[in-house]
């Protein structure tokens, strides 16, 4: 049984159909890429997967449990983490505190009003470990807003990783990065690959074709092609578009 099972996801906003019918099954440990032109519905599908948008029809199962229509915080508590294409950080907090807020142990003490958060060395230690994995250990005390763009992208992922998720959803993680940044990120994601299930929306085909186990191409709110990077290179639809040119 797949870890994520989305069946017949249909989303409409008013009379506009955004997702026609999306089926997706991602086994545990797979890196699944999502690609497609702008406005194809990739991010909307992510929003359904992470509870931001309730689908008009269809269902999402996570490890066999129906999570359709649950709110974001419940789905997050089930082990689904996401990063954002438009960076969504706690800008006034230091990098360390951004990550700390993501820790499930911190969340478990969410209604603790009596103890000083800064007193807990356990939180600080866990946060530093996670910052180290994304290469931000020496920038832990810098405010998120003062970090460089590339470091903010890395922090986006660090905050998601802090949740200790089973599923990591990355929404265009390379967006706006230069080639150095993309390489750094590819190395990071490569290290994560296999350890957790990753679903990534990405426009950088080189990045995606190098890392993904399988890729789904979404267009007009439907999956128009799916397969391994190798299979997709043979796909007629992909060949006709310019999506396969890097592969």
């Amino acid at each position: 049984m797949a870890l994520i099972e989305a069946a017949g996801i249909h989303v409409r906003f008013g009379d506009r159909v955004v997702l026609e019918s999306i089926d997706l099954a991602v086994p545990e440990g797979e890196f699944h890429g999502l690609m497609g032109p702008n406005g194809a519905g990739k991010t909307t599908f992510f929003n359904v997967l992470t509870g931001r948008v309730k689908p008009s029809r269809g269902s999402i199962r996570l490890d066999g449990r129906d999570v359709t229509g649950l709110s974001s915080h419940r789905i997050a508590a089930h082990g689904v983490a996401r990063s954002f294409q438009i960076m969504t950080l706690f800008d006034e907090f230091s990098a360390r505190e951004n990550v700390t807020v993501g820790l499930p142990a911190f969340r478990a003490r969410g209604f603790d009003m009596r103890h000083a958060a800064a007193n807990d060395s356990g939180f600080a230690r866990s946060a530093m470990e996670i910052l180290a994995t994304v290469g931000l250990a020496d920038k832990a005390d810098i405010r998120a807003r003062d970090l460089s763009y590339g470091d903010r992208r890395a922090l986006e992922i660090a905050v998601a990783l802090a949740q200790g998720p089973r599923v990591l959803c990355l929404d265009e993680p390379t967006s706006g990065l230069g080639s150095d940044g993309v390489q750094r990120l590819a190395a990071l994601v490569g290290r994560l690959k296999g350890k957790l299930t990753i679903v990534a929306i990405e426009h950088d085909m080189e990045f995606l074709f190098a890392l993904a186990d399988r890729i789904s191409v979404i267009h007009w709110g439907q999956v128009v092609a799916r397969g391994t990077p190798h299979e997709l290179q043979q796909n007629e639809w992909v060949k006709r578009s310019n999506l396969g040119r890097f592969a």
Binding site: R52, S71, H73, A76, T88, M113, H115
Partner: protein
Amino acid sequence: MTTSPQPSSDATRLVTPAMLVLWLVLATVPLWIARVGLYPYLGIEILIWSLYALAFNLVLGTAGLPSFGHGAYFGIGAYAFGLCQFNVVANLWVCLVAAFAVAGLAGALVALFISHRRGIYYAFMTIAFGQIFWTLAIKSHGITGGEDGLLKIARLPADFGVARFDLSDNVAFYYFVLVLFALAVVAMWRLTHSPYGRIVAAIKQSETRAAHLGYNVWLYKASIFTLSAAISGLAGGLFAMAQLAAFPDVMSLHQSGYVVMMTLVGGGLVSFWGPVVGVFVFLIARDVIGALTNAWMLYFGLLFIAIVLFRPEGIAGAVSAAFQKHSLIRRQGNSAMRLLFGGERWR
């Protein structure tokens, strides 16, 4: 590159040096306030409004939620104190708990309706509910005394079992309020720096991210609003004791605006102590400028506009920026020149 100020050790302290200094200064107020041409009652007012403004700032500053009808909870606390005294039991502690609890209950009720909102919609909803409570207070003659107010509220004695203190004298009452203020400051300081407080501060910066990290954003927003309303109510209860009455005008929109002005002028958005600074400036300006001209609010309004335009982080923000600049120059020593010529970005 700028670094955020290290989580200062103050954040982990129960009582900070700043608190001790403030309490010590406040404790001497009755000794000299008459000599500088002011009067002890002003000290009481400053303490009560400081408590109220700090409670209000949990919502405005910590949670970033614009509440413009907070006077309602202050007023409800005042009425609850009086009504409890008349109808339930004339015991100071019970009546203060009633002020806290009833205002908290009203806050929780409002929070149910507004906590899914933010920004301007949140602000409008708080105004609307504030107006409802204000109207109820004016119209319910039988309970609140309407516009005449709920009169003859007594300053009940503080009974500790072994000892009993009469609070009818302004100086005695001042010290009683000071003790409650000090306890509330410790509680709110701790709350602000607890995991709960940091999560509320995180939600202020990004509700979306917090929700996707597994936080029930609605519940945090509702709970901080309820807490703030309850502490505002406690302040209101003390205000009823101070005035020996409870009036609906503290619940009106323009009086709700006062606490917003105090908090913003003082610098509540950037500093825990901002609201207290604002209350001092506001009430002393009212008495000092007010003694010279009836139009004192005009001048305070101009100050407010100037601060919003030029120093949106308020007085506390301006002071801490000045301190930071000073310590930065000292610390960097010879790199001060580079700093002066803007070679490096700095705050």
